[in-house]
């Protein structure tokens, strides 16, 4: 059996490297342009603008669009999954009384329970 050539190993190493690499995020792959406020022309963003854009992109992620499936009878179905949930939350005030409330999104539910506790009577429904 003939020994493999160094080029063969190099090719293998390259392939392994490609296979094992973390896929770049779409934002890093795509071309990003800004509309210049003064000229109205499209241009490459400054490093500062790019940083701001990426921050906005990461803090306000857009949910994936819903997929609409057309069934054999022409019916259309959308899978809502966890995005269709309505949340029941409870808050306990400083004096121990609890209030339940219903909100529509996970974000609203988190907001509701992370609000600072009001002093007794400030805004609780039992006072």
């Amino acid at each position: 059996m003939r020994p493999a050539s160094p080029l063969f190993f190099l090719a293998l190493a390259l392939l392994c490297g490609i296979a094992g690499a973390t896929p770049p995020t779409p934002a890093a792959q795509g071309l990003t342009v800004m509309r210049d406020a003064e000229t109205g022309q499209l241009r490459a963003p400054t490093p500062g603008e790019l940083k701001t854009l990426r921050r906005q992109s990461s803090t306000t992620p857009r949910p994936a669009p819903f997929a609409e499936i057309v069934g054999p009878g022409g019916e259309r179905t959308v899978e809502l999954g966890e995005r269709g949930l309505v949340y029941a939350v409870v808050r306990r005030s400083a004096d121990g009384t609890a209030t339940q409330h219903c909100v529509a999104s996970a974000h609203a539910a988190t907001q509701a329970i992370e609000q600072p506790v009001a002093p007794a009577g400030a805004s609780h429904d039992h006072h």
């Binding site: 019916e75 029941a88 409870v90 306990r92 121990g96 339940q100 219903c102 007794a120 006072h127």
Partner: protein
């Protein structure tokens, strides 16, 4: 009837994908599409236990039977309560397609003072199917299946998802001590009545919600929800399905601006709702404050409908800024002012019942409580069998108007007369044409607005945004309007 299906050894994140395998056997035994060909019969609700072994519904911690719940472990009691709530719904619904609820107790968001109790909702929506009363809008999956006699979700997918907090009250970082009450007898005390919460959340999953975004007015995939054909702007007399995004957003924040225009609900409203109460201000010194006011009713003391009354209005003043909290026994000066009169007090610092008790002890014949934050009229919750005087709540703005009229009073006389009585023209929670009002606070409460009944309803209803302590495990008239609403959309 309800059926419980166990789905063990699954991680919380993978349960939806793996659900298919476990449900295959069940559906193959008669719950499949073929089930839609027979005569309509009471619904079957299948609770699919999505918890892994040893947790949630399968938690082996021993538990004493409580309030009719015969489970002997924490997990069994949770499942028993789920079964009980699902059974209530199943007994009222008709469907040839079994309704599957994918359910689990999981660690949900919580901290020392607040927690997500649970969440539920439709897992999918369906439109343009044969058998739809209205072709075009989205129907929740369970309802679409009932109407078409076809299980659009496929044999292995739940129609409703339900998640409840497995850590509530059981850990120091999750509202310690505030636990789910797992009994069936509504004797929850300071706990959270799980059955009531389940009835509320399952109703959302059955279709008590719009899939249109109430913050932006945008329809899901450009298509209205069946809900939007009954949600009526009662000023324009147009339903949401006919309106633009901007119009929908505006109506979602118009207090008393949206009514439910469904025949079943409207027919049931007179049997369910009590007459509304109103405050009428008159008298020589009333000035611009002389008019009628909306009020929130008290859960304690005699009802205004059965005990209308009137008297001179006198404020309690016990704070440096002129406010009157009445959280402690009244001073001689305040006691002299309210004796034989109607006491005007401010919200804050202590329970409503404490305030009522203090002014009652001082000799007041009634209490008007002015809110301390801007907002809409709300009720006065509380339990106090010893309170014998009627009470009512007004908004902050109305309280300021009354206080302005009381500026020229003497120590015992104000010349402003308050009368609390039933409003013959209105039911508590209905519009002037007898249609049920939806919850539309001026400041949008995302997901609370539009998809709940108004907080003005008397008695309190299951599908108000706040789950009240006095709710029964009842979903139908003459106690509740949830079932008629589901009938309106097609159930």
């Amino acid at each position: 009837m309800t059926t419980i299906k166990r789905m063990g050894n699954l991680g919380a994140g993978a349960v939806a994908r793996l659900l298919a395998c476990v449900l295959l056997g069940f559906v193959g035994l008669g719950a499949g599409p073929g089930a839609g060909t027979g005569a309509a019969h009471a619904a079957t609700i299948v609770i699919v236990n999505q918890n892994a072994a040893g947790v949630g519904f399968n938690d082996p911690a021993p538990a004493e039977p409580v309030g009719g719940n015969q489970g002997v472990t924490l997990g069994e009691q949770r499942l028993y309560a789920f079964h009980y709530a699902a059974d209530i719904w199943a007994s009222h619904l008709v469907s040839d397609v079994p309704i599957r609820i994918g359910a689990a107790f999981l660690p949900l968001d919580c901290n020392a003072t607040g927690a997500v109790l649970g969440a539920a909702g439709a897992n999918q929506v369906v439109a343009e199917f044969a058998g739809a009363p209205v072709r075009g809008p989205w129907y929740p999956g369970a309802l679409a299946g009932k109407l078409a006699g076809v299980d659009f979700a496929g044999p292995t997918v739940p129609h409703i998802i339900a998640r409840f907090n497995s850590r509530l009250g059981l850990f120091p970082d999750c509202v310690p001590g505030l636990t789910f009450y797992l009994g069936l007898d509504r004797n929850a005390g300071d706990g959270i009545d799980l059955v009531t919460t389940l009835l509320h959340e399952i109703a959302h999953g059955l279709g008590f919600q719009t899939f249109t975004d109430d913050a932006t007015g945008e329809q899901l995939q450009g298509r209205p929800s069946v809900w939007d054909f009954y949600l009526l702007d009662n000023v324009r007399e147009r339903v949401w399905a006919q309106m633009s995004n901007a119009e929908r957003v505006a109506s979602a924040t118009a207090w008393r601006g949206l009514s439910w225009n469904g025949a079943f609900v409207t027919a049931a409203v007179p049997a369910v709702l009590d007459p509304a109460s109103r405050l009428t201000i008159s008298g020589a010194a009333a000035g611009n404050a002389a008019r009628n006011y909306f009020v929130g009713a008290a859960n304690f003391g005699p009802s205004i409908g059965s005990a209308p009354f009137s008297g001179q209005l006198m404020p309690v003043v016990d704070q440096p800024n002129g406010a009157g909290l009445a959280c402690t026994p009244l001073s001689p000066t305040n006691a002299l002012a309210v004796r034989g009169n109607v006491a005007l007090v401010d919200r804050g610092s202590c329970d409503f019942t404490v305030k009522a008790r203090n002014v009652q002890t001082a000799g007041a014949i009634g209490m008007i409580l002015a809110d301390n934050v801007a907002g809409e009229v709300a009720d006065l919750p509380g339990v106090a069998p010893d309170i014998a005087i009627p009470s009512a709540r007004i908004t902050l703005a109305d309280g300021l108007a009354l206080n302005a009229a009381l500026q020229n009073r003497s120590r015992t006389r104000s010349g402003v007369v308050a009368r609390l009585a039933s409003d013959p023209s209105r039911l508590a929670g209905a519009d002037t044409r007898g249609r049920m009002l939806l919850y539309t606070p001026n400041v949008l409460a995302p997901g609370s607005s539009v998809s709940h009944f108004t907080t003005e309803a008397r008695p309190n209803l299951l599908m108000e945004p706040a789950i009240n302590d006095d709710l029964l495990h009842v979903v139908s008239p003459p106690r509740d309007l949830t079932l008629p609403l589901l009938r309106d959309i097609g159930w």
